[in-house]
């Protein structure tokens, strides 16, 4: 055969290059105008939904009015509640970052700029449903009214930490609030969420699961396992991909590869997939509700790619100045989720600056108060960490002999 092509091409790879140099708006692919994308029927054919792949579910336009098919049924109060929750998440986040700067906590991860996704989806789901989150969805807990003080105790790793100081800060867990224990190992929760949803259906239950993953972590193998199982068994699960455009230092195209969008990944499994403006509270609510309805009516899984931006550093251990352009957040074309919902309420004539400032103050006061209480229990930095003996609990349901001996040994040490 070798005579067919006398001058072979030397092969070469495509190595994606970070977008550092580029103008940030370039980085968001395929932005539609608000209201442009039609809302498919719950049981629309996957091929037809796939044809919408370069569209973006958006509800709030530049003036703050809600337009198009996807406008959700929400009362003004529900919207105000959404604004309040997002402000609370943001205030909490800022307070924790400050605590880290003050040397009171060992580590922190912010969700700045991504508040709408977790808050609005939580509002669209029901008690009893179970989220399998990553470290960037504190909004799920806060909007389900999980106590701020308890969250802070966890972050402080103090004696009141419900997790007994075992986990890194932000790795919350609350079964009662539908928030699965966070793992430090990326992507493992994705297939677990599918398993949980399968369990609900195996038992003829009515609760659905919601799986969360960052766009970078979709490269992990458990993402595939989740899609295979969700597709094969038609599990009642929402498969969220939060595309915040960064995975530590690597831009989203390392995981996306040559494909146009992350939503495309659903197609090969016949899982309907949407791309949604993640900084648009109403769009998030509407899309989450659509996916939840599909799950609740045995129409199977839905994949949603949420477009947003990681505004802050990856974590308090990270220095993004090495790899990202400084003005990126300011130039992000989808704006800020808090500003946009606020503008919408203003547009509706339901909100003004004074109200906003008052709410901000109220929320900050709530956070300060909670932090005062939480800090009163000390922190890992002050050494108020409860008894080290608790480390031997919960390894097993009952303490086995070898752990009892080790615990005794720890106590016997000088």
């Amino acid at each position: 055969m070798s005579d067919r092509e006398p001058t072979p091409t030397p092969l070469r790879l495509r190595i994606p290059q970070p977008a550092r140099g580029k103008h940030p708006p370039d980085r968001v692919r395929y932005i539609s105008a608000a209201g442009e994308m039609a809302k498919p029927a719950l049981d629309e054919k996957v091929e037809r939904i796939a044809l919408m792949r370069k569209q973006l579910v958006r509800v709030l336009d530049e003036d703050g009015s809600a337009v198009g098919d996807w406008v959700p049924e929400m009362s003004v109060d529900e919207k105000k509640q959404g604004l309040r929750t997002m402000l609370l998440v943001r205030s909490y986040d800022a307070r924790m970052l400050q605590a880290h700067r003050q040397g009171k906590i060992s580590f922190y991860m912010r969700s700045l700029g991504e508040e709408a996704i977790a808050c609005a989806q939580q509002a669209a789901l029901r008690p009893g449903d179970m989220h399998f989150p990553t470290y960037r969805q504190p909004g799920l807990l806060i909007s389900s009214e999980y106590p701020l003080v308890t969250m802070m105790n966890q972050v402080l790793s103090n004696a009141e930490d419900p997790l007994h100081g075992r986990q890194l800060p932000v790795m919350y867990s609350s079964k009662a609030h539908g928030f699965f224990s966070i793992s430090g190992n990326l992507a493992t929760q994705y297939i677990q969420a599918v398993g949980w949803a399968m369990a609900s259906a195996l038992r003829g239950g009515t609760e659905i699961a919601s799986a969360w993953i960052g766009e970078g972590a979709t490269a992990e193998s458990d993402f595939h396992a989740a899609l295979v199982f969700a597709s094969t068994y038609q599990a009642p699960v929402i498969l969220n991909i939060v595309n915040n455009h960064w995975a530590i230092s690597t831009p989203e195209d390392f995981a996306r590869g040559a494909s146009a969008t992350f939503a495309d990944r659903g197609y090969g499994f016949s899982i309907p997939a949407l791309r949604v403006d993640g900084n648009d509270y109403l769009a998030v609510y509407a899309a989450s509700q659509w996916a939840a309805e599909r799950a609740r009516t045995n129409l199977g899984p839905t994949l949603i790619e949420w477009i947003t931006l990681r505004v802050g550093a990856h974590s308090t251990s990270d220095d993004p100045s090495v790899y990202r352009p400084p003005e990126e957040a300011a130039q992000f074309p989808l704006g800020d989720p808090v500003d946009r919902l606020r503008q919408h309420l203003v547009h509706l004539g339901e909100w003004d600056d004074a109200q906003h400032e008052a709410l901000q103050e109220e929320v900050d006061a709530q956070v300060d108060e909670a932090f005062a209480e939480a800090s009163s229990h000390g922190s890992v930095k002050s050494g108020d960490v409860g008894s080290a003996k608790t480390m031997f609990d919960d390894v097993y349901a009952e303490l086995p002999r070898h752990l009892r001996e080790q615990r005794d040994r720890l106590e016997e040490l000088p």
């Binding site: 599918v194 199982f229 094969t232 609990d393």
Partner: protein
């Protein structure tokens, strides 16, 4: 009491557990309609329906990951990995998730699941149908690890494992599925129907996870072992005329230290055996533990007789397998030391 093979005993344990508790679900590759490549789950789908026992795509990570999620929901999944050699794709879900969930959530979420896998060689399976990876589980805090050697124990332990609130790795040496193999491949196969441990009670009974079984009493030396090697040890002791005390550990974590210490203190000599490769095998833990606790009773160094530190070879299976000749030789050395 009925005479059963180990396969039948395992099947029966599933039946009993599924009958008593409808949160028990069973799945894995080929386990549903077909009933498993070793037929350990045969009849379950027919009896309990496809929402209790079903086939899965070929994804060990998916099987265990989904099981963790189901367990968090409140079910008790009992899943099969077709061969232990194929558990590696699921290792992250086992180690980072199943084993850690209770601890990291402070008991908020738990993972009461059983992961069954056929282990060991002796069937000309080559390097990917012969492995004994128990040491890769015993190093992981949060897991319990069980290895069975006979039908009676297999049923009682599997029921106890399914009822256990912690994740249990349940290892089934495939060479003893149908009979108590003593390490002589050239001799006629002995079926379980000819062995007292093939007599299995009907209905529900438990053998507690964490308890060893005195397989044979003796005073010359103590043999610490499990799985197929229990029978090999017995053959070796008999062929070499040694009064060996053989302990079938049955559970590796948590380990029944009292039974071990009592025996070694009595005999003063200890042989440790397993089919897995020697280096960093569970035999190392046994030797380390025994010397820690019984050093001043030991009359000779503890000897380990294990698989060589090579992959399990297909054609040279019987040179790899620690059979009665190799074990007997080591027993003699131990007595002479």
């Amino acid at each position: 009491m009925t005479s059963m093979t180990m396969i039948e005993a395992i099947r029966d344990a599933h039946m009993v557990a599924m009958e008593r508790d409808d949160t028990v679900v069973v799945f894995g590759e080929d386990v549903g309609y077909f009933g498993g490549v070793f037929r350990c789950t045969q009849g379950l789908q027919e009896r309990f329906g496809d929402h209790r026992c079903f086939d899965t795509p070929i994804s060990e990570a998916g099987i265990v990951g989904a099981a963790v999620g189901m367990a968090a929901y409140g079910l008790r999944p009992c899943v099969e990995i077709q061969f232990a050699d194929y558990m590696y794709p699921a290792y992250d879900q086992i180690v980072s998730e199943a084993a850690r969930l209770r601890h990291r959530s402070a008991g908020d979420f738990t993972a009461p699941l059983v992961i069954r896998m056929p282990t060991g060689g002796g069937i000309f399976g080559g390097q990917t149908h012969s492995q004994s990876p128990e040491a890769l589980f015993t190093h992981v805090a949060g897991l319990k690890t069980v290895v069975v050697s006979n039908p009676y124990d297999a049923k009682g332990l599997l029921i106890a494992a399914i009822e256990d609130d912690d994740p249990v790795i349940f290892l089934e040496p495939k060479r003893v599925y149908n009979g108590p193999f003593d390490g002589h491949p050239d001799r006629p196969i002995v079926p379980w129907s000819k062995h007292p441990l093939g007599e299995v009670p009907e209905g529900h009974y438990r053998i507690e996870v964490g308890t060893a079984r005195l397989h044979r009493e003796g005073s010359d030396l103590t043999v610490l072992t499990y799985g197929t090697m229990v029978h090999v040890a017995e053959a070796a002791a008999e062929e070499h005329g040694l009064d060996a005390e053989i302990i079938d550990l049955r559970t590796l974590v948590p380990l029944d230290v009292d039974t071990i210490v009592a025996s070694v203190t009595k005999t003063g000599r200890c042989l440790v055996m397993h089919e897995a490769t020697l280096t960093s095998g569970f035999g190392a833990e046994l030797a380390a533990t025994v010397q820690e606790r019984c050093m001043f009773h030991l009359e000779a160094p503890i000897i380990r007789v294990c698989g060589w530190d090579t992959p399990y070879p297909h054609a040279h299976e019987w040179s790899y397998f620690p059979g009665p000749a190799r074990v007997g030789y080591a027993m003699r050395e131990l007595m002479d030391a």
